[in-house]
Amino acid sequence: MMKKLKITLIMLLLVALLLAACGGKEAEVVEVVEEAEPFRVAVVMPSAITDLAFSQSMYDALVAIQEERGADNFEIVYSEGMFVVDDAAAAIRDYASQGFNLVIAHGSQYGSSLQEIAPDFLETSFAWGTTVDTFGMPNVFAYEAKSEEGGYVNGVMAAMLSDSGVLGVVGPIETGDAKLYVDGFAVGAAAANTDVQVNTNWIGSFSDVALASEAAQTHIGAGADVLTGTAQMVVGAIGVAEENSALWFGTQSSQTSLAPSIVVANQVYHWEVVLKQMIELIEGGTYGGQYYEITLVNGGLEIEFNADYALPDDVKAAAEAAIDGIVDGSITVFP
């Protein structure tokens, strides 16, 4: 009985302390606004900041901005591995209530949570992607990658490099930038060689490395000698490609380090291009309502060639012609 009483007392004390601490914080925020305080960004991501794919692309972008502005003027806080949407929603709300200037929900699966949370924090700016939908809210930015552009360029190269005429694609779930990339890849491949066959596999998961690996194995079995894929589970597929001496095209982040001998090129995302524009608006007092995309034109998308892979000159020239065509508008990936 005494023990229970003690625990209850301790709990009460803790709650009281917590309330006191929260109260104190609110007062502080009001004061600090007048000083030149750092710009504070919090980001919630579905996988690790080192996933060589989607989450890493965002983390690297924030670090790039931080290097430009200085660590004292730009604070980054992140929650990674938030594949459980409920946990992510709690983190988003938590960051918003801590007074961050910009809270990024990096994953289209977080949309409905954000739609509920954003109206409660009108002084906080939110960004989410990949999507075009700001929910018409004044404090929500949306961002999208026109990943079909790099998909197209990769597809052109893949079709030219394939001896068997069969290309294999390992996709996660048929949505967002993954779908855009895969569709763009097929269009690019067909543009370079109408006879080439593109086989696509959606494995229904962003994290199932084992199934991604078997999907790649299936493509090899079906005769593919060039593979590509998108999202963080493709690390399993790259290993299979390497074992079978098939070529690989990456997207989202550079995947060259995983298999330097077979990665031909990667479409790398540079979110900093659009993040900078958002930050500028936020500093000017506009908290949202805009939609951004990274493209080959604005430099948000970049085709990074693997220097260690001996790419034939005609293939490289075709890739560069495709990039130029997309940039000057003479090529539209989805007419």
Binding site: S47, A48, T50, D51, L52, G81, F83, G168, E174, N199, T200, N201, W202, I203, G204, S205, S207, D208, V209, A210, L211, S213, E214, A215, Q217, T218, H219, G221, A222, Q232, M233, V235, G236, G239, S257, L258, A259
Partner: protein, 310 residues
């Protein structure tokens, strides 16, 4: 379209891929069979697998020795298993809850270690397919069954071994007795605690090896949450197989074969939407579960802590 499925190359592809995919399920679910047969429901399999996968990968990556990696996975799995045993046997915790606690611990810990010790996705040169003289040369059969790595063979051997231990040895009898009627076993001088510790520890070792089979044999990478729910499916397969090793293997093979079938269905451009294709193994498993589970009774003392005189 659909007739393309029945060509030799495709059938060989489906079967050999299904056999590989089933490997981690086999280790994990046979381990869980031992644990549950002794009366302990271990829901922490997924966490044990993740830590085993990381331990194997990290040791193999830093020493270059795959067998040391295996040893690391075995030790990690054993420690996790013993911890689970301590919590459920000595502390008599509610097993459904504490198992989930161990899952979350393994998930978080493997990720933390991954971030601190590796920092990024790396690769190792894992176990290679083993050529078996004569057997590997048999057309079709050789391609499907005898062109796999050592951990794949080990998983199928384990099924035989588990069946033998459970049905033909005194140890197996003790495990089953403790899971069915711990009071009776106790009154006959069998130490319920010792047997349960053994079974849950063994289950932990198997889960650790299941993780290693992914990180240093089948995939040769480690990534956070790479098991992706596989450990929970392994637990479902134990129910599916009615706590009998060969039936558990049947379930694991069914699930994996249908999964590799759906990969081929997509690659051959058979007009089934991908959303339905990826559902196939799960839907089929649920149906099979509905029809199979009613026939078999779970161990009577499953998830019930044992206390003398109660």
């Amino acid at each position: 379209m659909i007739e393309q499925l029945f060509t030799k190359a495709v059938l060989v592809g489906i079967l050999s891929s299904g056999i590989r995919l089933a490997t981690p399920y086999l280790y994990a679910s046979i381990g869980e069979t031992f644990s549950q047969r002794s009366g302990v429901l271990n829901l922490g399999v997924e966490g044990q697998m993740l830590l085993g996968a990381f331990a194997a990968f990290y040791v193999a990556f830093s020493t270059g020795n795959l067998w040391l990696g295996m040893l690391a996975a075995i030790i990690t799995g054993l420690l996790m298993g013993l911890a689970m045993a301590f919590v459920s046997i000595n502390l008599q915790a509610v097993q459904g809850i504490s198992g989930i606690g161990f899952y979350l611990f393994g998930l978080g810990m493997s990720d933390l270690l991954f971030q601190k010790l590796l920092g990024t996705v790396e690769t190792v040169s894992g176990f290679r397919p083993v050529y078996i003289p004569w057997l590997s040369d048999i057309p079709i059969i050789g391609e499907i069954f005898f062109n796999q790595n050592i951990l794949v063979y080990g998983a199928y051997f384990l099924v035989f071994a588990a069946w033998f231990v459970l049905n033909k040895t005194t140890l197996g009898l003790k495990i089953k007795a403790v899971g069915e009627s711990p009071q009776a076993a106790d009154s006959l001088g069998v130490s319920v605690r010792k047997v349960r510790y053994f079974a849950v520890g063994l289950g932990g070792i198997m889960s650790g090896i299941a993780g290693a089979s992914l990180s240093i044999a089948l995939l040769n990478v480690f990534q956070q949450n790479m098991t992706s729910g596989l450990g929970f499916i392994a637990i479902a397969l134990v129910y599916f197989g009615g706590w009998r090793p060969f039936a558990v293997m049947g379930g694991a093979l069914l699930f994996s074969m249908v999964n590799s079938l759906q990969l081929w269905v997509q690659v051959l451009n058979i007009p089934i939407p991908s959303n339905f294709a990826v559902m196939m193994p799960y839907v089929l498993t649920i149906f099979a579960l509905i029809f199979s589970v009613q026939r078999v009774r779970p161990p009577s003392a499953l998830s019930k802590p044992f206390e003398r005189g109660h």
